[in-house]
């Protein structure tokens, strides 16, 4: 059962657009790395900065948040709030010297299966290049 330890990526996907986009990528058999693991949230605005930090604590090497394109939020405005929150959080992480490529936000619609797969592919490559996340790790979780 032991597959080589790859950089681990947690993807928070909004139920209405990005999670559906991920489904579409699957329907179209578009491959992206298996180390991307998706967590379904109702909306990108449901993603609490705590979840992102928690993911790093638990050993994630990259975290990506996907939501509906601005203006297309199923709940009208959720992704606009998410955009502000996430922008500020990302800026703060970078300010603390956390590699800024460790986190990403992408807008992926339900129709953009190809974009979803391509995004995950490129994000996984970026994270692989950065290697293991050392700056936000909790060694207790890595034993």
């Amino acid at each position: 059962m032991q597959i080589e330890k790859k950089p681990l990526i947690v993807a928070f996907c909004c139920n209405w657009c990005s999670y559906a986009g991920a489904d579409l990528a699957g329907t179209n058999r578009l491959n992206y790395p298996a180390n991307v693991k998706i967590i379904r949230v109702p909306c990108s605005c449901r993603v609490n900065p705590l979840f992102i930090l928690k993911a790093f604590q638990r050993g994630a090497d990259g975290v990506i948040i996907c939501g509906c394109h601005p203006g297309d939020c199923h709940y009208t405005t959720g992704n606009y709030y998410a955009r502000r929150r996430i922008t500020l959080l990302f800026s703060m992480l970078s300010y603390l010297g956390i590699e800024k490529n460790r986190v990403r936000l992408e807008w992926v619609s339900a129709a953009e299966g190809a974009k979803f797969a391509a995004t995950m592919q490129s994000f996984a490559e970026e994270i692989a290049e950065l290697g293991e996340c050392k700056r936000l790790e909790d060694l207790r979780c890595k034993k």
Binding site: D138, R140, K143
Partner: protein, 337 residues
């Protein structure tokens, strides 16, 4: 009397035989750090921000683990391996604090982690060359000019005078014998005198503590000082965490995903969830919590420990409390009636 002229040679020599911890400066703040070559050692600054209790009673200490695999749980002993070490540059007040802590941790049931560290540690104290206005250790019978410890040292113009007091101290002295020369010790006597002169001028050196002798636990319970203090106490843990004698801790579990790490960490009686139990909390309001903190040090602890106060007068809380509330004010308020 043994004298060391080259301090860095001394550090190197100690570090060669044991782990050496000593005060290191970082951006104007001094704390005990593991010695490494080139470290910015600062033994002139009187007080480290954190007290020396960290040597024996660390802020967090992993105790055990539960490794979870499927439906099986395996218990692991995660207590750290303790290696012999030297705590260098400890002041008299902190040295006394170890005795206070011993009363808690070395009585039955003995705290094995604390005991292991206590046995492994050699305490090298340093006389307080420049006592400060926040110091009031003399009220507790501490002699800052000749502090206790396995080894006592004095930093003088000539160099560092060194005097081993215990077997552990002698052993350390023997292990690094090469760094010593002999000095006449005059400078030590002069320094002791100079320190005594300064102490005489310290504003808090002669507190009236008589009203605390032999009182009952409940004597001061209804005193108005608790409400006064709690009114602007922020309920932070600064006083507790800089205090060398505060010994309360919480045992918590951390879920690491694959299992649990059980650890203990300092706790503060200033916190609202301190000693919270299933039924709720013993002390619900901040005045009750403040009362607990000060009476524990001034009344409850001495009653159980032959009059030994749970305070060593280091003055850290005096300097660090964000609201400038501290034990000296309480001592005075209780005395004033």
């Amino acid at each position: 009397m043994k004298l060391v002229k080259d301090l860095s040679a001394l550090y190197e020599a100690i570090a060669a035989v044991q782990e050496l911890y000593l005060p290191v400066e970082n951006k104007g703040r001094v704390d005990f750090k593991l010695y490494e070559a080139g470290a910015n050692v600062d033994i002139k600054t009187l007080k480290t921000v954190r007290s020396a209790k960290d040597f024996f009673f660390t802020q967090t200490e992993t105790l055990m683990g539960f490794k979870v695999e499927g439906k099986n749980i395996e218990v692991e002993d995660l207590r750290p391996e303790v290696r012999p070490f030297v705590a260098f540059g400890v002041r008299g007040c902190d040295a006394r604090s170890f005795e206070v802590l011993d009363k808690v941790f070395l009585v039955d049931p003995v705290d094995t982690v604390y005991e292991a560290r206590r046995k492994a540690g050699t305490v090298v104290t340093l006389a307080c060359g420049r006592p400060e206005e926040t110091c009031f250790c003399t009220n507790f019978g501490i002699t800052p000019e000749a502090p206790a410890g396995d080894v006592t040292t004095w930093l003088t113009e000539e160099g560092l005078y060194w005097q081993a007091n215990t077997d552990k101290g002698e052993a350390l002295t023997a292990a690094i014998a090469a760094v010593f020369t002999e000095g006449d010790g005059k400078a030590v006597e002069e320094q002791k005198k100079a320190i005594s002169d300064i102490i005489a001028k310290l504003p808090l050196a002669n507190l009236d503590m008589t009203h605390l002798e032999g009182v009952k636990e409940e004597t001061f319970w209804g005193h108005p000082v608790w409400k006064d203090i709690s009114e602007t106490c922020l309920a932070c843990g600064t006083c507790t965490y800089v205090c060398p004698t505060c010994q309360c801790y919480d045992v918590r579990d951390f879920d690491c995903g694959n299992g649990i790490e059980r650890f203990r960490c300092w706790d503060s009686c200033m916190y609202s969830d301190f000693t919270r139990m299933a039924h709720g909390n013993n002390r619900n309001t901040q005045d009750q919590r403040c009362r607990q903190r000060y009476l524990h040090k001034l009344v409850y602890f001495p009653r159980r420990n032959e009059g030994m106060f749970g305070c060593v007068g280091c003055g850290r809380c005096v300097a660090k409390c964000p609201s400038k509330l501290n034990i000296v004010k309480v001592i005075k308020a209780l005395g004033g009636k």
